[in-house]
Symmetry: C2
Subunit: 243 residues, 2 copies
Amino acid sequence: MIHNFDTNKWESEYWHPAVTTDAVVFGFDGENLNILLVERGIEPYKGTWALPGGFITESDESAECAVYRELHEETNVEGIYLEELQTFSKIGRDPRERVITIAFFALVVKDNYEIKAGDDAKNAQWFLVDELPPLAFDHNEIISIAIERLRQRIHFEPIGFHLLAKEFTMPQLQNIYIAILNPPLNDSRVRDRRNFPKKMLKLGYIKETGKKVTGNPYRSPKLYTFDEEAYKTAKQNGVKLEF
Amino acid sequence: MIHNFDTNKWESEYWHPAVTTDAVVFGFDGENLNILLVERGIEPYKGTWALPGGFITESDESAECAVYRELHEETNVEGIYLEELQTFSKIGRDPRERVITIAFFALVVKDNYEIKAGDDAKNAQWFLVDELPPLAFDHNEIISIAIERLRQRIHFEPIGFHLLAKEFTMPQLQNIYIAILNPPLNDSRVRDRRNFPKKMLKLGYIKETGKKVTGNPYRSPKLYTFDEEAYKTAKQNGVKLEF
DNA sequence: CCAAAAGTGTTTCCGATACACCCATGA
DNA sequence: TCATGGGTGTATCGGAAACACTTTTGG
């Protein structure tokens, strides 16, 4: 093993890899789950769809900052809830050089953003999770892991609310669970219109607004909101909040 | 900071950070949960306890390889189950330069290894999770996150078996759940000697060996093993395996 | 025979599941 | 009035939780 430090005793001389960040941005439209992709405008994989992201370009930029910056530059999306997914460091995952990628995943309300391609991205748009195009690098693997993480997470944390507007209907919330968990058609726990709201309301952190949606050619659903205070209190008290 | 670019057009010109790996190794002794630490033999934090780990020193070394290598060099532990925890990239977490650390966590049978300090480690030993010494860098934070991850994971995956010898007793397995979940004393689900085995055996992937421990000055407990086949089958069939 | 720890069975109760009909709205 | 989708209550069943005494073993 190498132990050479240079004259600056704090500066290591070990090999330094390139580090990038990528974001798996999930957007929900009330019905289906989408992922935000960009079409690469530069080599390698020019013209192929890929996750938004890019190099950490400055020594004083954190990974979080880098991924926010790239996301804004490439897709015009900003100010979202981001969480680290995993780091990908296999040899050969980038044809240019050894690249280590810190992947994040994000949850947004799809219609809150006007997607605009920019920077290295020739194009940017939403794709249904079930209808993704061929992807650059190992981005398929990253997305699989992100979906898996989402599936686990939704059992323990109310992540659904990041995917919905402040006020939402029970069927919308239910559609999130169906889209993420993809349960069998006869799973009455998730798919039954009577059991689902009961279970959700029992968690104690969803409250009615008293309002209803208008303008539908059918019975108008009630609007609910996420009661963040109630959620925090319940969490602190160790109340089980599992779905 | 080092910025050496070559003429290869694939070589990016972005800034490259230093990347290290650290391992949070949990060892179980049948009673309590321990963490493996090393006493640093070099600056910075010379003489302070820290997680085993170190720089990715070669461009063809994956993060997994690096952490295995460092762990072996510094503590003589090898061939263990390792899983990525999280990547730590905050500015200023290392006084030398900007360092990004990929942290892993591992689960081992404590008594299977003879801990021997080596390489940059002046010393290496187990500490009870509740009695950790002051730690170098942000290793306290890394350990907190590792414990949290462990706590979540044990609900869904039979990670306990990595912490036990092939044959183990029910009270040992129960002690793992108690050590990791640290439930209130009146939590009869985890702490009751009648309910716990019932629940475990119902999962279907633990089988009796027919053997018993010998040499105790009291009733000898039965020995069980983890039935990996049964576990895989159950998992594929979507049987719920939650604790 | 004593101390220490392990093994075992039953009752109760709550919460999850299963299930079907009526309501609201706009066209 | 029709089509579409949303809202609501109840009965049953199963699994979780609560609970205490007996057995084994070595000293």
